[in-house]
């Protein structure tokens, strides 16, 4: 695979390097002039990297900025600030023409296979379009498309059909074939399996793993399904309200989570195992994610955290390395998970007994969350 079209400096540390990425969306008021009345910080200062051939799983709840990060990397949203480097060359300041060349190496698979394929184009054209745009369509173009279809487990004869003739899983395979047409090095997978039934989902996950083995792709895998992420990822980044709260290898994040949010998220995720489901203690977070319009000061998770103290409101915790690149942004990282469960339960019980009667705080948090939902939904829902 050549990166000859990309002006590349001699040395770079990681294949894809995202540093301090900020993505703000203006909120416009009513009236004729639609004055900007505020801004939503969808992504605020995200730093992560991706090496060749590895899978970085990005998890978090809806509205935490994981999809926006994916799009900002591709420059589908122009980032407000920060840097995105592919093979050492900066994408944020690049001209559109240069970007087009770079995008050969950086492709995306969207979440909804029903919305991401043009219903008026037969599959051959959908996949071939990328080749044509990049001037790679040669005489044997159709054979190339056929080979791509075969690669993703469809038969080349399917090429003349239209998207509506395929099932959801097959469409997602077409989406993957389209992304692979230009032989990219990095695939951004934006919830590629969430719209699929479990049995079909497993087939697509297997396909992605096979492709990575044979083609050496690097995946930026965005998902909210924690069990799929655990299955496919080498490293994991956990996001909360526009920030990365914990990154590390898969095993470090899943089996020795240090950030309270990660601990809570993992304990809330249901597993298909009746006995462990019934016996295990889970940490119930109270309330919803706060509004990104007006995020909490200091640590953004503090409003729902059972360990929060005054320091958390005053100072934003910097990411601290807990060994082997396991970065955790928390003043009071979790050491003993089972002890945490108990103290979280006590915390929740306290909140529960006091909140229905008096708390102006809780109520305002609710309203803020509701507002955040509505505005956040518009942003994150853009790709559906």
């Amino acid at each position: 695979m050549s990166a000859s079209t990309v002006p590349s400096p001699a040395s770079y540390e990681h294949l894809l390097d995202v540093h301090d990425l900020v993505m703000e969306f203006p909120v416009k008021g009513g009236g004729i002039f639609r004055k900007v009345v505020g801004k939503v910080q969808a992504v605020s200062g995200v730093t992560m990297h991706l090496d060749a051939g590895e899978t970085l799983g990005v998890v978090g709840e809806s509205g935490c900025g994981k999809s926006t990060t994916g799009r900002a990397i591709l420059q589908l949203h122009k980032p407000t600030s920060g840097s995105v480097k592919l093979r050492g060359s900066e994408l944020t300041t690049m001209s559109n023409e240069d970007l087009r060349a770079v995008r050969r190496n950086l492709q995306i698979v969207f979440q909804d296979p029903y919305a991401s394929l043009n219903p008026k184009m037969p599959v051959n054209d959908i996949i071939g379009e990328a080749l044509k745009i990049h001037g790679m369509w040669k005489k044997d173009g159709l054979d190339r498309v056929g080979a791509l279809l075969k690669l993703v487990g469809l038969s080349p004869e399917h090429g003349n059909r239209y998207p509506h003739e395929f099932s959801g899983g097959q469409r997602q395979r077409i989406g993957i074939a389209r992304a692979l047409a230009l032989e990219p090095e990095v695939l951004i997978l934006d919830e590629p399996v969430s719209a699929l039934d479990v049995s079909v989902q497993a087939g697509v996950v297997n396909l992605l793993e096979d492709l990575q083995d044979t083609l050496g792709l690097a995946y930026f895998f965005i998902a909210h399904d924690l069990s799929v992420v655990r299955h496919i990822s080498d490293r994991i980044a956990v996001m909360y309200l526009g920030k990365v709260v914990e990154t590390g290898t898969r095993d470090a994040v899943y089996y020795e989570p240090k950030h309270p949010y990660t601990v809570a998220l993992l304990s809330a995720a249901p597993e298909a195992d009746p006995e462990s489901e019934r016996s295990r203690q889970r940490i119930m977070l109270t309330g919803d994610v706060p509004s990104p319009l007006n995020p909490p000061s200091g640590c953004r998770f503090r409003t729902r955290c059972w360990k929060a103290q005054d320091l958390c409101a005053a100072e934003e915790p910097p990411p601290i390395d807990h060994g082997a690149g396991h970065l955790v942004a928390c003043h009071f990282p979790v050491t003993d998970i089972s002890a945490e469960t108990a103290s979280a339960a006590i915390h929740a019980a306290k909140l529960g007994s006091s909140s229905p009667e008096s708390p102006a705080v809780a109520a305002s948090r609710e309203t803020a969350a509701a507002a955040g939902r509505d505005s956040g939904g518009g942003l994150s829902g853009g790709g559906r």
């Binding site: 049995s199 299955h231 809570a264 006995e275 016996s279």
Partner: protein
């Protein structure tokens, strides 16, 4: 009005998670067999609190068809189950397997054109032969429903309080003030802070999780015996999902209701349901205690579903089911799963297996070859893919 009188689940003696000891509930004992009586941590032990003996809902041989231009879509073909007091029955299956349609039939919410046969009896009275008026008096009062999408299930132009009160007033004659008071009480019960103020809020002023709480409040406001929850948490984030499921269980125990929990998330069923019904192509293919269904599936489809989910310990490959579900207009001969089934033989392609007892009388499976699944140490191994074999 106060919260209706309940028999707190804690009062029920007995060691089994399925309810009281055998002497007090002989029928149940027969139904469930003895359980290991494992010690349960308080968090989820609540969710599997005592099941009563009385049958509240009985569905027998329910079929639903929709005539279309292309032919009759046989959405549900012969579903039978019983639901006991305080029981949680999980119905799982992929999209198009008929799980929602069968529960819509119970609620009487199917469109006019639907052809429904079979029996649905609520406490011994057949719902399908009732007059419209009688059906209406049951719906929303004795049998309530929680819909999947809390964003669209409420009317955006009325306040939440109005909609909750409407649910009360359509079944009981009482002053509007009293209905509002009840609405307020319910909002408090489902954990919405400042319920009095929130009565005057519109649905868009709530977050997704809060809206689903309002839906739960609306479902239980008339003290129903049966709650049908159709994918209640599918639209929600995982931390909020945990809150809502917990609340659902709390409310169920407070009102002594039984729940039919429809979902495609096997993890949710694993934690919530006493019994699990697996559906495929409109047919029930497996029914049994949740543990039995998950740990010793007796239908290859269930095994395939379990093999498709990434689990904590796995390092290898997922084991997906090949192919796609059949068209409900042109069903294949024999077992509808046979084209995708690694165990299928000639008999599977000609004779459709009935849902019948397998190795335990209360563990039903619809498969000719369940004994082969029983003999295999790992039932999902039949779905091993080529690429896995290559590794």
């Amino acid at each position: 009005m106060t919260v209706p009188p309940t028999t707190p689940p804690d009062d029920v003696p007995g060691g089994s998670i399925y309810g009281p000891a055998a002497e007090e509930a002989p029928e149940l004992f027969q139904v469930y067999g003895s359980s290991s009586g494992a010690e349960l941590a308080p968090a989820r032990a609540k969710s599997v609190s005592a099941v009563g003996t009385a049958e509240v809902l009985k569905v027998e041989d329910l079929t639903v068809g929709f005539p279309t231009e292309d032919g009759l879509v046989r959405a549900v073909r012969g579903v039978s189950y019983t639901l006991h007091e305080r029981e949680v029955l999980g119905i799982v299956g992929e999209s198009g397997s008929g799980k929602s349609v069968s529960s819509m039939a119970v609620m009487g919410l199917l469109p006019k054109g639907a052809r429904i046969t079979g029996n649905i009896s609520f406490r011994g009275r057949n719902i399908l032969s009732m007059s419209k008026q009688e059906q209406r008096s049951l719906r929303g009062r004795k049998i309530a429903m929680i819909f999947q999408d809390p964003m669209t299930a409420m009317n955006p132009v009325y306040t939440v309080g109005f909609q909750l009160a409407e649910a009360v007033l359509s079944h009981e004659v009482m002053p509007k003030k009293a209905a509002m008071a009840r609405a307020e009480e319910m909002l408090g019960l489902v954990g919405i802070p400042q319920p009095k103020e929130r009565l005057n809020s519109y649905p868009h002023e709530f977050s997704g999780g809060m809206r689903q709480r309002v839906m739960i409040a609306m479902a239980v406001i008339n003290n129903p015996d049966v709650i049908i929850a159709d994918e209640p948490t599918t639209a929600l984030d995982v931390t909020v999902q945990a809150q809502i499921l917990e609340k659902l269980i709390e409310v169920k125990d407070a009102f002594n209701a039984a729940i039919v929990l429809i979902t495609h998330d096997l993890g949710v069923v694993a934690g919530m349901a006493h019994r699990t019904l697996v559906m495929y192509a409109g047919r029930p293919v497996e029914l049994g205690n949740t543990e039995d269904v998950f740990y010793s599936p007796r239908m290859p489809y269930t095994a395939g579903l379990l093999g498709s989910i990434p689990s904590a310990g796995d390092t290898g490959r997922l084991r997906p089911i090949t192919g796609a579900p059949p068209s409900l207009i042109n069903l294949p001969d024999g077992c509808p799963f046979s084209p995708r089934c690694p165990l299928a033989t000639d008999v599977c392609r000609t004779v459709e297996p009935e849902l019948a007892p397998t190795d335990a009388p209360d563990h039903l499976g619809a498969c000719h070859h369940w004994d082969r699944l029983a003999a295999a140490p790992d039932p999902t191994a039949f779905f091993r893919t080529e690429s896995e074999a290559r590794r």
